[in-house]
């Protein structure tokens, strides 16, 4: 894989005696939508957290854009170009929708206390840029009509989409979505699939964790399956669907076959 944007190399993650990830290897190619699936507790979110720097891997490495991510602070990883959403929505509840997105856009801004106090030209330019970018993204996600509302007062579907808008505002190369369709109706899932395709069409690479099989199968190019912290299968949705190991992981193995 010559053009891997992110590669996870032999990553092991242990919490005390629990091994959440063991020797995990996979890569994401530039411009693809990669699904990361697995039964509950398989280590999907842990994998996300290692990639975004929330946890430091016990061993192994993560390489992004041909640079190792080890030792970088979380906000630095974001500035390198990895943005994420959360399995449990984690917006800034008392800030407006547009402010939430502007926080993301600020990842590309340099104004600090001095510039803000003196009202520097850069401060004004960056504020304007941030607003325009935020409104553009809210429009893109179809939630601009509630831009001025506090995030806490938005309907659930809006909150999910606001999280994606906020992540996109940081200007990522790789967008990681952690169960973006959790709690969605089938119609909303369909909309989300279209959105994810639209996001990819704009040149983003997407890593998607999802429980919902119809969504994963419908939108991803490739799928990596985790079970008990190990990669048990990698391949196209059709391949993975028919892989006996995957079926066993999801449905269990009959006693006589084990």
């Amino acid at each position: 894989m010559a053009d891997a944007i992110l590669s996870v190399n032999n990553v092991t993650m242990q919490f005390g005696g629990v091994t959440a990830l063991s020797d995990v290897n996979f890569a994401i190619e530039r411009g693809e939508i990669l699904g990361l699936i697995g039964p509950n507790g398989a280590g999907k979110t842990t994998c996300f957290n290692v990639i975004t720097g929330v946890y430091a891997a016990t061993s192994g490495s993560v390489t992004f854009d041909n640079q190792p991510l080890a030792g970088l602070k979380r906000f630095q990883i974001t500035k390198r170009g990895i943005a994420r959403t959360f399995q449990n929505i984690r917006l800034f509840p008392d800030m407006t929708a547009v402010e939430n997105v502007m926080v993301g856009a600020d990842a590309n801004h340099k104004t600090s206390v001095g510039g803000a106090l003196l009202g520097s030209r850069r401060h004004h330019r960056e504020e304007r840029e941030g607003r325009d970018r935020a409104m553009e993204l809210l429009t893109f996600m179809g939630i601009a009509d509630r831009a001025a509302d506090a995030a806490r007062n938005l309907p659930y579907g809006y909150q999910r989409r606001l999280e994606i808008a906020r992540a996109l505002a940081t200007g990522p190369k790789l967008l990681c979505l952690d169960e973006p369709a959790a709690g969605f109706t089938p119609a909303e899932k369909q909309e989300l699939m279209d959105l994810i395709r639209k996001i990819r069409a704009q040149g983003y690479t997407v890593l998607l964790i999802e429980h919902d099989m119809s969504l994963v199968m419908g939108v991803t190019d490739r799928i990596v399956v985790l079970d008990f912290g190990k990669v048990i299968a990698t391949g196209s949705p059709a391949d993975v669907q028919n892989n006996p190991d995957v079926i066993a992981a999801y449905l269990g193995v009959p006693d006589d076959a084990a």
Binding site: K73, T78, F92, V98, G104, A147, A148, T170
Partner: protein, 368 residues
């Protein structure tokens, strides 16, 4: 006057104030600015408020000079509440040792203008502010890795360390303190003396207005957004690219600088300080001012500081029960307005209206 009357008046005026801001904001530019100018002018007339018929009866402090109360208490508490609001209200860092910075500001002026040198007050002030700021950074660098209760306990210790150190250090005057501190220089007709408190009030009010001006700029910038994001969800903020540690340290440093500034005003006015002027109780009272006014709302901090500074003096009539009455009043406010007198509001984005308008105009143009 009965307590419930006071209370009703208080909440009613708080409601009025919080609604007022928005309505003034919607006015055309000229009328908005003239109203603001008029309001500021009336603040400068505060020393004469007790002579106004109804207002006078409400605000006057029987038994103490109203002028003294607004200079020694109200101005200082408002300034301190503004600074503490940055730390507690905006960035969400519970600082229980804020009196330490206030003490540092006062002590730097004391040391440089009396104890060890004879620098004029005006020269001491910037030095004191910078020293307080550095103290904030020194305290913040190791402690801002802690969160919530743990941070509160460390800062609580800091406040006590400053007071006890001052008590034990002979070069800081020990428990006798520092006297003959320089006073602010006379500006034209404003003579900073012992008899007339008004010049000190005008100076303090001016400092507050300048502070509010700059704090507003910070609040409406990337810095303010970063602080709010840290308060709401620190982990999410960091993962969205906010250098949280840096901005928390800034909040601490700016809060400390304003606390130190308040200390310099205090030292310049009373001209004698000793460690017992800076007890832990004062830190708690400062927090009370911020919470009472409305955590995270700058106007709330102003009102909270003013009320906490003024109310115990207003209740002098209750003699030795006045602190009790003050406590009951605080509890009542918190029962009826748990978010504070002027709660933090979702920011109304003025530019958003323009944006929508622009958008719809753009749409019409495209269709036409």
């Amino acid at each position: 006057m009965s307590l419930s009357d006071t209370f009703k008046g208080l909440t009613k005026s708080a409601h009025a104030v919080s609604g007022l801001g928005e309505r003034i904001g919607d006015l055309p530019r000229v009328s908005r600015w003239s109203l603001i100018a008029l309001f500021i002018f009336s603040l400068y007339l505060m020393p004469w408020w007790p002579e106004v018929p109804v207002l006078g009866w409400l605000v006057d402090t029987p038994g103490t000079s109203f002028e003294g109360v607004i200079t020694d208490k109200v101005v200082i508490y408002v300034l301190v509440a503004l600074g503490l609001n940055v730390v507690v209200g905006l960035a969400g860092l519970l600082d229980l040792g804020y009196v330490g910075f206030y003490a540092i500001g006062a002590y730097v002026v004391g040391i440089l203008s009396s104890q060890h040198a004879n620098l004029p007050w005006l020269v001491c002030v910037p030095i004191a502010v910078i020293v307080s700021m550095i103290a904030g950074v020194i305290l913040g660098t190791p402690t801002l890795r802690l969160r919530g209760d743990y941070l509160a306990i460390v800062t609580l210790g800091f406040g006590e360390i400053i007071r006890i150190s001052a008590n034990n250090a002979d070069w800081l005057g020990g428990s006798r303190g520092i006297s003959k501190i320089a006073k602010p220089p006379n500006i034209g007709p404003l003579k900073f003396g012992v008899l007339d408190a008004k010049p000190y009030f005008f100076l303090g009010l001016t400092v507050i207005i300048i502070t509010v001006f700059f704090l507003r700029r910070l609040e409406n910038s990337r810095v303010g957004r970063a602080w709010n994001a840290v308060r709401e969800d620190e982990d999410a903020a960091e993962l969205m690219g906010v250098p949280t540690f840096k901005f928390k340290l800034w909040a601490f440093a700016i809060g400390a600088a304003i606390g130190g500034l308040a200390g310099t005003l205090y030292a310049g006015k009373v001209r004698f300080i000793n460690p017992s002027n800076f007890p832990l109780q004062l830190s708690i009272l400062f927090i009370a001012a911020v919470v009472l006014g409305g955590t995270g709302n700058m106007w709330g901090a102003v009102i909270g500081g003013a009320v906490v500074g003024w109310m115990p003096e207003r209740f002098r009539g209750f003699a030795d029960k006045r602190v009790f009455v003050f406590g009951v009043a605080l509890v009542l406010v918190m029962v009826f307005r748990p978010q504070g007198l002027i709660p933090r509001k979702i920011r109304k984005e003025r530019w958003l209206a323009n944006w929508k308008q622009r958008e719809s105009e753009g749409g019409e143009v495209a269709r036409g």
